[in-house]
Each structure stands twice: as C-alpha cells, then as structure tokens.
Symmetry: C2
Subunit: 194 residues, 2 copies
C-alpha cells in the first residue's frame, strides 16, 4: 500500500477519473447525449458559486462548492441512482457508505477523514450548507427537464404531482426563492389541464 501522501492523493485523483464515465439520466441541454456525473458536479459547483445568495440562510459557499465537487464520487463504485428509480434507499445508502470508505480511504489523513465527513454531511442534509447543496442538486436537473421539454419526466412518465413531491420539499428547504421560480416553471411546463 502506498504511504507517500502525495502519491496517495494522486492515486485517488486517478481513481475518480472514472466519474467521467458514470452516465446520469439527464440529457445535456442540447439533447446530444446524457450527462455524466463529473461534468454534472462541475455544473453544480458553478450553481453554488452564483446562487449562494438565494440560500434559506447564509451559507459558506466555499464549503458548498467542495461538497458538490465530491457529492457523487461514490458513484465510481456504485453508479448513479436516478431520482425516478425504484431502488431501495437503504440498500443504496449502504452501498454508498462502503464506496465512500474505500474511495476516501485511498487518501492520507487528514484529507481522508475531512472529505468523508463532508460527503456524509451532504448525504445527511442536516446542516444549512448541506441543505442548500441538496437543493441545487435538485434544481439543476429540474431546469434541464423544463428546458428540454420534459427530459427524464417524459422518459419515466412522471406527473406534475410527482415532480412537486420529489423536488419540492428538498428545494424549498434549501432555497424558497429557487423553489418559487422552479414551481412556476414546472406548473407552466405541465400546463393548465394537469
């Protein structure tokens, strides 16, 4: 096992290259292909950089950015679990905990414990930073679906009611202003007859 801290960090940085091959359900905005989890993480970090002032309470944008950069890294081992899937949340969380232990375990201390703690903080969504990060992780795919004329909602036969239920509470909790806008866009997307 590698014990040189620099080489341990490079091993981790090489390992997470595989996040570029984890394919999400959401398309790119030009619909040319589906998005991968690495570029999704970049985009969310840019969302945090620009939308930090819309959080429910003031957040530490630098922490939110870091959280979003690494929030999907466990998918290197377990793949992406779509929001509109029937996977058991308990099984999924158990698998992700194991993946987090393996992946962040490649790092030396203190980074190993620090990044694992930041990932857990995101997953548990109890802090204001994590609540805002979770909200952005719902806002971005919602906007993709609206802009692309339905996206994953069409693919999965998701109704207005389900959209409000699956996205609303998480976005509302982290950013009432963003939810107000998202709800308007969603209502308009589904039209007056739904």
């Amino acid at each position: 096992m590698q014990t040189n801290p620099l080489l341990q960090k490079l091993t981790f940085l090489h390992e997470i290259d595989r996040l570029k091959s984890v394919i999400r359900q959401s398309p790119l905005l030009d619909r040319s292909r589906k998005e991968n989890s690495a570029e999704h993480s970049w985009h969310l970090a840019m969302y945090a950089l620009l939308l930090q002032d819309y959080a429910t309470v003031p957040v530490d944008a630098n922490r939110v950015i870091k959280m979003l950069l690494l929030h999907d890294i466990v998918e290197v081992d377990v793949g992406d679990t779509p929001l509109h899937s029937s996977a058991s949340p308990e099984d999924q969380y158990h698998a992700e905990i194991q993946a987090a232990a393996r992946l962040f375990g490649l790092l030396p201390e203190p980074e190993s414990s620090e990044l694992l703690a930041l990932w857990k903080e995101f997953e548990e969504a109890q802090t204001e930073d994590a609540k805002f990060a979770k909200a952005l992780d719902r806002v971005q795919p919602l906007l993709v679906n609206v802009i692309t004329g339905g996206g994953t909602w069409n693919d999965n036969g998701v109704s207005l009611e389900l959209v409000l239920q699956r996205y609303g509470p998480t976005i509302q909790r982290g950013s009432p202003i963003l939810w107000q806008l998202c709800e308007q866009l969603v209502q308009k997307h589904f039209g007056p007859n739904q």
Copy 2:
C-alpha cells in the same frame, strides 16, 4: 435583455452547459474517449482541493478552485486550443477576451466583474493563486499522458525535450514538488535513450 439578477444567472448557467461538448485532446485514463472541458474543470478543482499544500507559497485554495472551475468557460465560444497546436497565442488570446466579455457579460453585477477578473487573473498568471492554478492545468494532462502510455504526445510526435519545455516552467513556477515528481515520470516514460 434580461434584468432580473436570478434569471441572468440562470441564463449564464444554461449557456455554459455547452462546455460539456468542448472536446479536448487528452483521453480519459481508460482511453474510452477524449475528455471534455467541463469534466476537466471538475477534475482540476479536485486537484486544487487535494494538492494545495504543494504550491510554491501558501495559496488560497478556495480562490484557486473557483479559478479552475471557470478557467475554460471561454471555450464555449472559441473551443479548446491544444497545448501542442500551432495557433497564434495573440489571436487566441484576443478571441478569448471577446468570449469572456460576452459570457461573463450575461451575469449581473457584481458577479460579472468578479468572474471576469478571476478569469483574467488566471490567464495573466501573475498572482500566486493563478501560478498554482496554471501549474495544475499542466500537471493533470501530463499525468494523463504518462498513464495512458503517451496520449497527446504520441498523437503529436512530441519529444522529451518539448515536454520538458512546454510543461516544465509552468509547473515548476507553481509547484516545485509537483514538477520534481512529474519530471521523474516523464524521464521514465521516454526512457534512457532519449
């Protein structure tokens, strides 16, 4: 023109989705395809998060991360210019300045000026944060080339001498420790007879 700051920010965030379709010369580590500039930016932000202690002098990692998240955004308009290309640096910089003005100009103030300034700081590479960010932007593709058995160096017939010349000064300036390791890897890659 949009004057609501939130909608201006969302317009910008939608516009930069196109960075996911800007293809670089470097392959993924598994060689399955070439890397795009959005996932490259994510990876570099992770490099900054983990390698900050190896900068020549202490840097503000949060600023370096932000700089790397947006350092390639101009490519939405002008595309990627490979390191081993014959493009005129002056023409390229002129086109990138125009792209930066258009893209960051989509944002409201103060974000418009702040992000443009951060992008210019990276390009000019005069501050310690920018020098370290530039070094990482060379380290990552160098390591990709070593790991993939040559990568863009093979594609472009790049010699050991050219590698040392094109990567060395920029990496050495931002991080002597990283250059020391990179130089060893490069020497080993090209072998004793070159």
